[in-house]
Symmetry: C2
């Protein structure tokens, strides 16, 4: 690994070094990290090659206007790793590195035509369309996104630290094949599920990549081309899409203000997808009587129930106990789907299914085939986080913040959106708003976005898009309290304008 | 949140506290963490209730034989979080906590019969069956598992630390919807793919939950019931299972010592699954000429190719450049599947697909529907790890260790397994071994396990299990050098015995 010859070392002009370090950002990660990244990158793209001499630490620290110690430390770490080599009294040089293949200069022939190759065209489906840069909007009335001001950074970091010990890494780096981290499963059974009335054994639980993967696996496992699946309308569009992909269609369930009605249509289904905790998107909480009636009808007609309890854990406003369907179920027909995306952070992608052991067993084999298992280090971090009481503390804190935001919006809506009607049941993290006649929510969504206000047009939730043109969802998990009033004022004026035009 | 009444505080006997802390493990995580976990758990299960008085820090430190400071610090953190409350001159007490629902005492009715409900029965498939506790076996000749002695713990920890800053957490905790961490994609394009001859743009790359998810998504996207898919035999069993699940069958491709033969059967397929880097499981490297011939035939017959390059990045023994199919492809028909499971750690579950942008676009929508995206924090950690040069350093180190193990095994096989023939092409991380006549690899696998030696019976790789009864795979990614010879000696004696019995 010796330098070919120090005498051949290129002495780059200052301009080269300025280019190497052009992306240095004082507001970014530590300068040590940035300097090392920049040098490794410059070598990789061939800007620096084996044998090139680096500026002395004094020169580079002057050039970049940073402490010499920082440069020395970064150089030393790269020397320890073999990226750079130090030759006494000569300086520091770029080390050898494995050969990279040359870029082929072959002529590119016409591409295969792909469209005829696809067995499925997922891109044909309608789906949510949130702007990627939503964090830069002053008034993001979005649902289910992350709020940096709420995330429990220090407690999370502690859990990460605990999970990065030598012993812990040996515990999570291996292949679990079809298994989950037993600690996370235990924490779920002990700390999380009992608060929802679910007393599950470990063999009734499987971890998923968010509830999205939970739902998609259940569709794969349970939906053949002839399975009759009942869905809510308005309802969760991704579930509608997945069911349609698997069975070619779906059955629309009757609904009233309490959610799905246990009528003959419901009874005719093999399986029904329900959100009794907070109906998506209307936020309706199904009363206990309705829940019992749904279960009774399901038993009488042998209907399987998928209960998507996507907003559980944050029902702080609701002091009265309202058991989920799963906790009322005595025949093992309810499959319960949950997630930490809403309560903690969607980027983590951790959800879970609680179901009869026979279902979990098949799901494990299916999941193994689809992707093995959710990353073990994240399971380990989350399990540790819960075990230390951090999750419970986070829920308490978040619940209070969200309840305050909701209260403020409820108080301001009559003032700024008097033309609209709305609904938000206790604990829900969004308002479901009906616009006045002549107002189109998709048009409004576009106009509002131009003014820095993000809302979600409600038509996406409807099987027949036309049914939803006057609805919109107003979320408040990502908007700080101080921006709520000004955002609603803008929204109100836009609604008023569109009515006038109409 | 006040304690109901200090005067009612239960004074638990010592036995209760011994039970609370019975799992304390001096070899486990820090005692601070363990004490907090134990108290939070005891409250959760109702062993301690609101108002209970805790032992003084002096009492507890005496009881557990640990430093008083440790107890004080743990108590203080639980007080800060509201789990415990401190009342001056009275002591420390269990705080209030949200009500947990009572366990229902309903009679359990007969369970729904599940078997008739499943649209698919994944558990019917044959698959690998490695013992969960393989780390406790002295001679784990397993393939693809993690070796705690090789994992770059300190460098990984550095990347974790960088990714746990406030700024970094804000960067990864949100929902990317269908996107990936742009930094990881860039690191792949700059540092990882060019070494395999692939010069891809970001829109040609998508991150997956290991290569397993890459393959399963490709099957879902590209395989309809009538798609003719060619597979290798012996070959990767999970791919065979997935294709069968989607299309009802598969086409077995002809093979010789160089891998798949580009004959008429190959040309008749819509799509073929290939492992030219190292044929799974024979380890055969397809020579350049064979690769070119496969591509030519694929172009002439419009066959799509899925190239599973599961063992790339570790080809240190092979100094000559051998471009992958994807790098030779000029028509965009090769879909390249890769992973960090083999080179880094399977528990991370990070892989990737490089393909035509039209394919990546559909895969993003499909992935969004299936599970949104792989956890962003892990993408961020891995991107940082690569950008600092740690991945390259790790490959160099690992390559040398594995080459030494392979050399030792190659040297010892003639001594201990003279009755067998075997193959291992340069860079492969396993030997493919043919047992003498009358020797059954599944029987051998069981006998060897009893003696502490883990090997993999080869029949699992064959479409017709009977064709593989005399093959076994001997991996060496998880066995330390000093245990190799004794393991081979045991294996050799078992083979000899089974021959005598035959």
């Amino acid at each position: 690994m010796s330098i070919q010859s120090v005498t051949t070392a290129r002495a780059h002009p200052t301009a080269t070094w300025e280019r190497v370090f052009e992306k240095l950002d004082r507001k970014g990660p530590s300068l040590n990290i940035q300097i090392r990244r920049a040098i490794v990158y410059a070598i990789e793209i061939g800007l620096l090659v084996s044998g090139d001499r680096l500026p002395s630490s004094r020169q580079l620290s002057n050039m970049l206007g940073i402490a010499r110690n920082t440069v020395t430390a970064a150089y030393q770490m790269l020397i320890d790793e073999g990226v750079l080599v130090s030759r006494e009294r000569s300086g520091i040089f770029v080390g050898d590195r494995p050969a990279t293949m040359r870029r082929p200069v072959t002529e590119r022939k016409p591409d295969t035509i792909w469209s005829k190759r696809f067995a499925a065209r997922p891109s044909d489906f309608r789906h949510f369309n949130k702007p990627r840069d939503w964090l830069t909007y002053p008034h993001p009335f979005l649902y289910g996104q992350f709020d940096p001001t709420i995330f429990p950074i220090n407690n999370w970091r502690e859990a990460v630290r605990v999970t990065s010990s030598h012993q812990a890494i040996c515990g999570w780096a291996g292949d679990l094949i079809d298994d989950d981290d037993p600690d996370l499963v235990e924490q779920l059974c002990v700390h999380v599920l009992p608060k929802r009335g679910i007393f599950a054994r470990p063999e009734e639980v499987i971890i998923t990549i968010g509830s999205q993967q939970g739902l998609s696996m259940l569709v794969q496992l349970l939906c053949g081309t002839k399975t009759r699946v009942g869905i809510e309308d308005p309802g969760y569009p991704d579930m509608r899409n997945m069911v349609k992909l698997a069975t070619g269609g779906y059955t629309i369930l009757s609904m009233d203000k309490d959610g799905v009605i246990p009528d003959e249509t419901f009874g005719s289904c093999d399986m029904a997808y329900l959100t009794p905790g907070h109906q998506c998107p209307t936020t309706a909480i199904a009363p206990l009587k309705r829940r019992q009636a749904l279960l009774q009808k399901a038993e009488a007609n042998d209907v399987l129930l998928i209960e998507d309890d996507y907003e559980a854990d944050l029902l702080l406003e609701n002091s009265s106990e309202l058991p989920c369907l799963k906790s009322l179920d005595t025949t093992g027909r309810v499959i319960y789907v949950g997630s930490f995306s809403k309560a903690l952070a969607p980027g983590l992608r951790i959800g879970f299914i609680v179901a009869h052991p026979a279902v979990v067993e098949e799901l494990r084999v299916l999941r193994r085939l689809l992707m093995r298992h959710p990353p073990t280090n994240n399971q380990h971090i989350l399990g540790t986080f819960i075990s230390l009481g951090h999750y419970q503390q986070h829920l308490t804190k978040t619940g209070l913040i969200l309840a305050r935001r909701a209260g403020l919006i409820a108080q301001l809506l009559p003032k700024y959106l008097p033309q609209c009607s709305w609904r938000r049941d206790p604990g829900a993290k969004s308002f479901w708003i009906r616009l006045p006649e002549g107002c189109n929510s998709r048009v409004l969504e576009g106009l509002a976005r131009e003014r820095g206000v993000l809302v979600e047009a409600g038509d996406i939730f409807f099987a027949n898009q036309q049914d939803g043109v006057r609805f919109m969802r107003l979320g408040f998990t990502s908007i700080v309290e101080s921006h709520i009033e000004s955002g609603l004022a803008i929204l109100g004026s836009l609604i008023e304008q569109s009515r006038v035009q109409h």
